[in-house]
């Protein structure tokens, strides 16, 4: 399936890698990041190019096991592998790592040691209550990051530049939210797969190009006829879904509609805006500290978010995919099922491809039960 009539996501990605290589030739720095806690606005304000690294892949996972044990989470292993294999990862001049789960917190040390790539490590409180001293510490971390980024690029992270980037990313998030919300309707015209591709494209291209792409996609789907057939409405959840996990979405959408998700690589990334009032770094600190994730303690906010999404999007079932050894998400399956009160299909797998037909059978059986 094509993202837009003229290109697939993979084509866009290849072109972007070439662009990045050319920009680096001209002296630009590319900063890779992994999770929704990375303050991308700051990277862009420092005149660097932020690129979210969300590639999985079995070959990369296997390559990563050279550095990490087999019981490291598949995404961490794949990241290590991709730094040696993937053309986008090879464009990265520095890594921006915000500690979230324990494995992701430790990943940068291995990246730095094995690949010699400098790392900006930002400490984010794991406890979710935004107490003033916790927010203040994160705010201090942002100051340290600003200094580090300025040193990398030679461009200081000024308030003016930050304001501009906050506005740009807010617009991007708003556009993605608008696209995602079209799925409120019965028989949604925008598939979960296209939504994932749009989000992945946004992390790759940045606000300006991504916004025009989202607008184009919205125009295209608005012209499509809506089906009369009701299919089960599903929500996606679990560990991060990598940009090359679209096979799962395709598989699910053969039988049902994915109408929303609670993924950090999906709707959670664009669920809220950076607040409008206050000094830019203060607002960013408040915004990022308040973001939900299963690894935060307590994780009540994510549960409330999931319940709200399930209600608003009239969700009939949850497909919850965890990566092997991803404890923060895997531990919560039973509790989440109780909290949502809807059927849950839990898929716990790595990036290997051998079990896909088994997964297909389970998905089909799950949809039939709805």
């Amino acid at each position: 399936m094509e993202l837009i009539p003229r290109a697939t996501f993979e084509q866009i990605r290849r072109e972007r890698v070439e662009e990045l290589a050319a920009e680096r030739q001209k002296g630009k720095s590319v900063v890779g990041y992994f999770c929704i806690y990375a303050p991308v606005e700051m990277v862009q304000a420092a005149a660097a190019v932020p690129v979210r690294l969300v590639r999985g892949g079995h070959a990369a996972e296997e390559a990563g096991e050279r550095y990490l044990r087999a019981d490291a989470c598949s995404f961490c292993s794949a990241c290590m592998g991709n730094f040696g294999l993937d053309p986008l990862f090879k464009q990265v001049d520095a890594v921006l790592a915000v500690n979230n789960c324990d494995m992701m917190r430790r990943l940068p040390e291995s990246i730095e040691r094995q690949f010699g790539i400098p790392v900006f490590q930002v400490y984010m409180p794991r406890t979710s209550e935004p107490l003033p001293h916790r927010v203040a510490e994160f705010r201090r971390q942002l100051d340290l990051l600003a200094a580090g980024l300025s040193k990398l690029t030679g461009v200081s992270v000024s308030d003016e530049r930050l304001e501009s980037e906050i506005a740009a990313f807010n617009r991007l998030r708003a556009m993605l939210l608008q696209a995602s919300n079209t799925r409120h309707a019965n028989s949604p015209l925008l598939s979960g797969r296209t939504m994932l591709d749009l989000a992945a494209t946004a992390w790759l291209l940045g606000p300006v190009k991504a916004i025009s792409l989202v607008e184009e996609v919205l125009r295209i789907i608005a012209a499509r006829p809506r089906s009369d057939v009701h299919r089960p409405r599903l929500m996606l959840g679990g560990s991060m879904l990598a940009e090359d996990d679209r096979w799962l979405l395709d598989m699910v959408e053969e039988k049902a509609d994915i109408v929303t998700d609670i993924l950090c690589t999906g709707a959670r990334w664009f669920a809220e805006d950076v607040p409008a009032v206050g000094a830019p770094l203060d607002r960013l600190a408040q915004f990022y500290v308040s973001r939900t994730c299963m690894h935060r303690r307590p994780n009540t906010d994510l549960y409330s978010h999931a319940q709200r999404m399930a209600r608003e999007f009239r969700v009939e079932g949850l497909v919850y995919k965890t990566l092997l050894y991803c404890d923060p998400y895997a531990f919560e399956v039973k509790r989440l099922q109780r909290a949502l009160g809807i059927p849950v299909l839990h898929l716990d797998t790595d990036y290997s491809t051998e079990n896909r037909e088994q997964i297909r059978t389970r998905v089909e059986a799950f949809v039939e039960t709805l």
């Binding site: 500690n99 430790r106 794991r126």
Partner: protein, 456 residues
Amino acid sequence: MRGWTDPASGRVSFDEWLELFDHVPDELIERYHYYGNSEAWSKYLFPPQMFAIYGMRHLRRLKFDNSLAALRMWGFVQNETERLFRARQTGRRVIATMGDLGAVPVIVNSFPDCVAFYPDCIWWTPFAMESRVLFDAAAELGIGDATCFSRAALGAFAKHSYFPDPDLVIASTGASCDDYSGVEQLVESFAPDMLWVEEPMRCDLRPSGPLEQLLVKEYERVVERMEKLTGHSVTEEELREGVRRANRVRKLVARLRELAFRDAALAALEMMVVEFGNLHYYSDMDEWTAVIEHLLATAEQRAAGGERVVDADALRVVWVTPPADPLLLTYVEDAGARMVGTEYVINQALEIMDASKPPLEAIAKSFMAASLIGTSKARAQSVTSQAREYGAEGVIISGIFGGSHCAMEGRLIADYVKAELDLPVLEFDVTSPSREISRQIGTRIDAFLEVLRSRR
């Protein structure tokens, strides 16, 4: 000790230990009580057989230090479950401290009639019992096998019989292991009252002052919640006294480590129990202090007399990450090695606190030495500095399959150690509770020690 003379120092089997116990005069059995009580229920110097009958089957397979001080220590440690229930019966408040391994109990124990304990330490229980019952209970609640053994704590909360339901759970989390953080999250449904405490991430290249200040704020919340719970307004002097008492234990343990690692005056198994006592004093700080004073007197005497518990010529090894199965320590010592250093992820509990500072600052500063909140490189440096000090010949890393930090840092630590000291490193995962060490691990340990021997 009147009526008792320690035999020539050495390690004894369970049966020999039992035989030895027959010679302990009644007067000594009557002497030791917990909670400063004098009634019969507070005695704890029981024969090892009793704890085995109560379910600690693994004791039959371990080897123990043959001194009275060690017998006393084991009696005291094994008695902890009973002691916690007695605490509740006698009107004490029971506080479960989770995750931070050593700091919060210093505050809790500054409050009158409050007992802090670590459900975390239940992770040894499935091994001691040779039973999966706690793991099965955790699995029922959503935490299955591909996870750290610390999941036993969740099972214990669900069973309501390993410790009384706590009055308050203080759960520390942050830059710590995911497995235990996940356990804490699921424990929330069992906790009548729960306080989450942030543990910052240490960046070894930056000053830690601001992070200490963050911790102080977190500890102020602990104080506030404890005051609300107890109705007691704790004074600065009470907190200072708490720090002094904790320091007393930490200093005793520091000396014991020195005597064990330098002079082989204490075996690895007892040393592990002693080191973990720094976390929560096995729920009775005063008596635990007396227990290790006794142990230290024995070790000093041995060192002065040139007596050793294990062969002086044994291969010198540093152990990284505490083995959930204590039989591994017995196995390694039987195979001809001895411990000359440990990195049991509890560095924060070994640090002496600066008593001249305001108490919460002193506790915060010592916590910043925590093993799990920093880099693997820092842990490796702790290993290499001990290895240098006592001339270690090899390093053993016992991991936990599915443990978040083990998966990420085992190879890094090995890498750093090899690069810095060119020492052989053995890394293996501890297997599920069983009567014996898995053949494969046994063979790997044997082969590893052969390599060390061949390098002499």
